[in-house]
């Protein structure tokens, strides 16, 4: 603002110069090119909003019939019966929440610990190699992880980890019942593998943005390296790391291919984590192309709408938290 004011005050001096006509001529021509270019880029940037609106409209339009027929009941009904055209999303909502919760329970401690190791404790060369590997893991397509999950991970879980869990933690209802391999727990584990790179790299950025003074002050008090990390770094970065976790949750909720391949795809609500489940995204993946009639596809659109609503809310929360954390730290530096 202030620089503009200065420019405006000085402009009369320039306008009185003899070259004024050419300057005006130039600026008229320039204005057109500048305006056109600015307009084009503006339209491209605004296309983001167009995409948001498009997604909303298409999903609402597609799910109109199901919304009209079932109303709010759709969210609380556990019937999924294409033959009698009766649909409810509860088993899928349940499956999505449970598999994401399992994923977070596994991924959060591992990711945060890894981020701490990479920023605070690891030798520089090693941490650079590890960071590259983690970024590559983030780039592995979901379908490839699913393929590996089906043919390598699930058989291993069935023959090793699940029986072990049943032997040692079998008193919990979570680990009772027959073991099939494909299960809610397998889905949760594969989602955990997919969100670990995201939570790790965002947490790492958060930890890196913690001011060095914070650490030095704790060292000066005679703290050990771990104490510095815990007291000075982690407690400072708590909110930001929480934002990273929520961001990971957003990814977990929408994860499709890998989950579809290992979760067993059975719409039921049971206590055992060894039992097959079904998620919002995998029911769309499995049934959308085979959905006939008008109500069946519409119900799947409504599932998509529920999925979109939840992921957008969770992602918006994560972005706001991360921006709120980045705000006070970035500003003093500028």
């Amino acid at each position: 603002m202030s620089t503009e004011g200065v420019a405006r005050q000085r402009s009369p001096d320039f306008s009185q110069s003899r070259r004024q006509p050419t300057i005006v001529k130039n600026s008229v021509r320039n204005r057109f090119g500048d305006r056109a270019f600015k307009l084009i880029t503006l339209v491209m940037a605004l296309s983001i909003f167009a995409l948001v609106v498009l997604i909303g409209i298409e999903l609402l339009g597609g799910s109109g019939k199901a919304i009209h027929k079932f109303g709010w009941h759709f969210l609380f009904s556990s019937s999924w019966d294409p033959i009698s055209d009766d649909y409810g999303a509860l088993p899928f909502i349940f499956g999505t929440i449970v598999s994401s919760a399992i994923a977070l329970v596994i991924a959060v401690p591992i990711s945060v610990a890894t981020a701490v190791y990479l920023t605070e404790l690891a030798p520089r060369a090693l941490s650079q190699v590890l960071i590259m590997f983690i970024e590559l893991l983030a780039a592995v397509p979901s379908v490839i992880l699913g393929l590996w999950g089906v043919f390598v991970m699930v058989p291993w879980l069935r023959s090793h980890l699940f029986p072990w869990l049943q032997d040692h933690l079998g008193f919990l209802p979570l680990f009772q019942g027959p073991i099939y391999g494909v299960s809610m727990l397998a889905g949760g584990i594969i989602v955990a593998i997919m969100i670990i790179p995201i939570i790790t790299s965002v947490s790492r950025e958060i930890l890196q943005s913690v001011p060095g003074l914070q650490r030095e002050a704790a060292y000066a008090l005679g703290a050990t390296r771990w104490e510095v990390t815990r007291i000075a770094v982690l407690s400072y970065a708590k909110k930001g790391i929480f934002g990273a976790v929520i961001l990971g949750l957003g990814r977990a909720l929408g994860e499709t291919m890998a989950v579809t391949m290992v979760i067993g795809n059975s719409p039921q609500i049971v206590k055992s984590l060894f039992a097959p489940g079904y998620t919002l995204s995998s029911v769309i993946a499995n049934e959308f192309n085979e959905a006939t009639g008008s109500l069946y596809p519409s119900a799947l659109f409504e599932i998509g709408l529920v999925l979109l609503g939840v992921t957008v809310l969770v992602n918006a929360l994560a972005q706001l938290m991360l921006k709120a954390f980045a705000g006070p730290i970035v500003k003093p530096q500028n």
Binding site: G33, A45, I48, L118, P141, M257, S281, F288
Partner: protein
């Protein structure tokens, strides 16, 4: 003296804790990269022997017959990526230019926020949206719809990275250009964008690598195809779709091909990711740190 003796065990315990926690975090870091190593190991182990000339050039054999290849899926993936690039690059790059070079703080905040939200939209949701948008009105699955959905997914990715690398270009470049009387738009096209070109290309390649592996959005748009197809109005095969269909099939020979296809897709994605690392050593990157 008393204080010192009282402190001694405490001190030892603190040091022990320090070592324990350091080792624990190290173990976690190793745990994180274990799946990547395992996936890569199994893909090479199971898929490498199936990769031969026939695999790249032939069509899939009918159910029950062994052999054949996934040549059509490899070509299909590249055609879909070319379409996606046509949609995603111009919109993403120019939108990124707006965010970096023009725009008010408040509008830019809203656009960035919306782009970040779009990045988090599940890929399956994009699939059914484009199904409703293009497949239903066109009365059929098409490669065009497949390319458009991948392109739409690229837009927010490319826009955000373009904006970030343009911001790294020193303001002196812009000021020098304006001081010479060059129009702003010309200075952007001829000076600012070329200065950040490597970073922009990196962002584009990473976005392409990301959508190259997308399966869910293609299931309801490009659909997949067992034959050679070059028409954009017809269903088209794609590598991820083929891998998925083979993986969930009951045939051992198809499982073998799924592994081989996955190995090719992973190599494609990972070499792009590693390759851009060398490209990304941008001259302005150092100034930031």
């Amino acid at each position: 003296m008393q204080a010192a003796t009282a402190n001694a065990p405490n001190h030892v315990w603190r040091k022990c804790k320090n070592v324990i926690m350091q080792s624990l975090t190290f173990v976690c870091a190793i745990l994180v990269i274990t799946p990547l190593v395992m996936v890569f190991y199994h893909l090479v182990w199971q898929g490498f022997t199936s990769i031969n000339w026939e695999f790249f050039t032939q069509l899939p054999k009918p159910t029950g017959e062994t052999g054949g290849g996934i040549g059509n899926a490899i070509v299909g993936t590249f055609i879909l990526l070319a379409e996606a690039a046509l949609v995603g690059i111009p919109v993403g790059v120019l939108g990124g230019v707006y965010l970096s070079e023009y725009g008010s703080t408040r509008l830019n905040w809203a656009i960035r926020f919306a782009a970040d939200i779009l990045n988090g939209v599940p890929s399956i949701t994009w699939g059914i949206v484009v199904y409703a948008l293009m497949v239903v009105p066109m009365h059929g699955f098409s490669a065009l719809a497949g390319g458009v959905v991948l392109g739409m997914m690229m837009i927010p990715l490319v826009m955000r990275t373009t904006e970030e690398v343009l911001q790294l270009v020193p303001n002196g470049y812009r000021e020098a250009a304006l001081a010479l009387g060059i129009d702003k738009w010309k200075s952007i096209i001829q000076i600012v964008i070329p200065a950040a070109l490597r970073g922009i290309v990196t962002g584009i390649l990473l976005a392409l690598a990301r959508v190259a592996g997308e399966t869910a959005p293609l299931m309801f748009t490009a659909l997949g195809n067992q034959y050679w197809s070059h028409k954009l109005t017809e269903p088209m095969a794609a590598l991820p779709l083929q891998i998925f269909n083979y993986a969930i099939s009951p045939y051992d020979d198809w499982h073998r091909q799924a592994w081989a296809g996955a190995l090719i897709l992973l190599l494609l994605v990972l070499t792009t990711n590693v390759g851009v690392r060398f490209l990304a050593r941008d001259r302005f990157a150092k100034r930031k740190h």
